[in-house]
């Protein structure tokens, strides 16, 4: 069915043919490095308030300037990378696991399918960001709650994707053969179905990750996200809003970092989609 070389070296060779994957991976690598090395890149406390130096432009001691309370913007923007990445990856992983469980179940059990999928349709009819806003408005602001709220909003799409893939795989001759041969259901699910849902799932997870980061920043920006004491990019921008006509740089730096991070993940996702599509593999190998 597919002409993809699955060995590790084959995978790397395959990657070099897709420049967007490389570009996305490098950009994301840089952001990850920044997040991991934040304490090395800046020895300032992100919440240290220097009242004498409020809303100052960039200088040698404050590379990105200071915010309206006199906190070092460079340090805060670096710490913001951690929040964004934690939220993005956590939501991607959790909604993939949740969507996979729900999708597999409803793809195989008709009784569950009817009820669960109607419920998922209902959830999908509520715009994701509004669902997260509603959930956050009745829970305490914390990174965990933001992750849970965005995950609930993202799960239906993943569940649908898995269910659709399962339904079409179930009709494949090799699955029918396994069923006819008396293979037990768990073996069919984990050995024959699951591996074939992975490619679209990985691509979907990258999109979920990117959209979760945007959702987190929107939630924080409108005051329904992580608590203001935590320097997330959305929070920094929300605080910069009051001064933004005179000091646009306070919003500028977190905005640029957020955009680059989301762009990196989207590039990675687009590239992976082309790379993992068996039709593309055949097209390129037969060339």
């Amino acid at each position: 069915m597919s002409a993809i070389d699955t060995s590790a070296s084959g995978f790397l060779k395959e990657t070099t043919r897709y420049p967007t994957v490389i570009a996305g991976a490098i950009l994301l690598g840089i952001i990850l490095l920044i997040a991991f090395l934040t304490p090395l890149l800046s020895n300032t406390d992100p919440s240290y308030i220097d009242a004498a130096r409020r809303a100052q432009s960039a200088s040698a001691s404050h590379w990105f300037g200071t915010d309206m309370l006199g906190r070092d913007l460079y340090t805060r923007v670096l710490y913001g990378a951690q929040v964004s990445l934690i939220v993005g990856f956590a939501v991607a992983v959790l909604s993939t696991i949740g969507g996979l469980a729900i999708g597999l179940m409803s793809g195989f059990v008709k009784a569950i399918d009817a009820v669960v999928m109607r419920f998922m349709d209902g959830l999908m009819s509520i715009p994701a960001i509004l669902l997260a806003v509603a959930l956050m408005s009745i829970s305490k602001g914390s990174v965990t709650n933001v992750i849970i709220a965005i995950t609930i909003a993202e799960i239906p799409r993943t569940a649908r994707l898995v269910r659709g893939t399962v339904l079409s795989l179930r009709e494949q001759p090799y699955v029918e053969a396994a069923v006819a041969g008396g293979t037990r259901l768990p073996t069919i699910i984990f050995k024959h179905i699951l591996p074939n849902t992975l490619a679209p799932l990985i691509v979907q997870a990258t999109y979920v990750c990117a959209s979760a980061m945007i959702s987190e920043s929107i939630l924080s920006f409108i005051g329904a996200g992580v608590p203001p004491v935590i320097p997330s990019w959305g929070n920094i921008m929300a605080e910069g809003r009051a001064l933004w006509l005179v000091k646009p740089f306070i919003i500028f730096y977190p905005a640029v970092f957020l955009s680059i991070t989301v762009l990196a993940i989207n590039l990675l996702g687009d590239g992976l989609r082309d790379m993992l599509d068996p039709r593309n593999a055949q097209r390129t190998t037969s060339r």
């Binding site: 209902g122 959830l123 715009p127 646009p248 905005a255 762009l263």
Partner: protein, 313 residues
């Protein structure tokens, strides 16, 4: 065809009920006492009791859901925790700016995105295609408020062409209304344009590889007729589908755009209600937007029968 349309309309009713049920039960999903969270840290026991009574948390779940649905049918969306005003009245005061923002954005986005996608598919693999694709990826990656601030910074602060923020009701003159909406509409449309452009490109590209396109070319049909009649018409189902799905992006984006541009619409009301922890208002807005979203997608489903007569379920 009318039987199909009627069946689609009837099928929407259970979806709306499920949506209403989910929106209603959110309050019961959260761990802990939602009334205490809404009341905040400095609340007295009386405050919490008042909020519990307003939200109906003391009544049994199903009874409460029943009365809630019944009152919604009569356009009673509850009362605000803070102003004690009927929520429907608060929403009524804020609906015009939001519609003024979203409808032109929708039209603008479709008029820009569909031709862009067709051109990208026609010129697939060339510089033009790469340029449009990069633009689409960027539009999808740069968050709405970043686009908004960038536009205000360049067109209002640096060039001084357009107002920085605010809203002028259409009743006070169309040109002032228009000037205040140019930047917000452009802002809100960015991600939507990117989404529609991408799907249009993919859909048209797929159609262009079909045999009947080659036949049309062979018999000498002109470029424009092939692209905009043969190809676009046959690619239109996924395109209008994404136009409908993308309305969710517009709704989420409106909340942010209105707060960036200080437009006193429903999005701004959402944000104010979050800060005041006025849950009945948030609940009503979520319900209203979700039901509108379901209705938009119903219209899209009905539109299928016009663009593709093969669709009959």
């Amino acid at each position: 065809m009318y039987a199909y349309i009627l069946r689609r309309i009837l099928a929407t009713i259970p979806v709306m009920l499920i949506v209403a049920f989910i929106v209603f039960s959110l309050l019961y999903l959260t761990p802990g006492d939602p009334a205490a969270v809404i009341a905040g840290e400095h609340a007295t026991a009386e405050d919490i009791a008042r909020i519990r009574a307003n939200l109906g948390l003391n009544d049994p779940f199903l009874l409460r859901f029943g009365t809630w649905i019944a009152s919604i049918m009569q356009f009673d969306l509850g009362t605000s925790l803070l102003t004690n005003m009927p929520v429907s009245q608060m929403i009524g005061q804020r609906i015009e700016p939001t519609l003024s923002l979203m409808l032109p954005t929708l039209i603008l986005a479709v008029c820009i995105a569909v031709p862009l996608g067709v051109i990208a598919a026609w010129r697939a693999g060339t510089k033009v295609d790469h340029f449009i694709t990069v633009f689409a990826v960027l539009g999808f990656s740069v968050p709405v408020f970043v686009v908004g601030y960038a536009l205000v910074w360049s067109f209002s602060l640096k060039l001084g062409w357009l107002p920085v923020q605010g809203y002028a009701p259409i009743g006070q003159g169309v040109s002032r209304w228009f000037q205040h909406l140019v930047l917000p509409c452009l802002t809100l449309s960015s991600a939507y344009i990117a989404l529609i452009t991408r799907i249009t490109r993919t859909a048209v590209l797929e159609v262009l590889q079909q045999d009947y396109i080659r036949t049309a070319e062979a018999k000498g049909v002109g470029r424009h007729a092939i692209l905009f009649v043969h190809a676009l018409k046959n690619a239109s189902v996924p395109i209008i589908t994404v136009i409908g799905i993308g309305v969710a992006l517009l709704i989420g984006g409106a909340v942010v755009t209105e707060s960036v541009f200080a437009i006193p619409g429903l999005g701004r009301l959402t944000m104010e209600s979050i800060l005041r922890r006025d849950y009945p208002v948030i609940q009503a807005i979520v319900l209203l937007f979700s039901i509108s979203y379901v209705l938009v997608n119903l219209l899209i489903d009905i539109a299928y029968t016009f663009v593709d007569p093969r669709i009959r379920y």
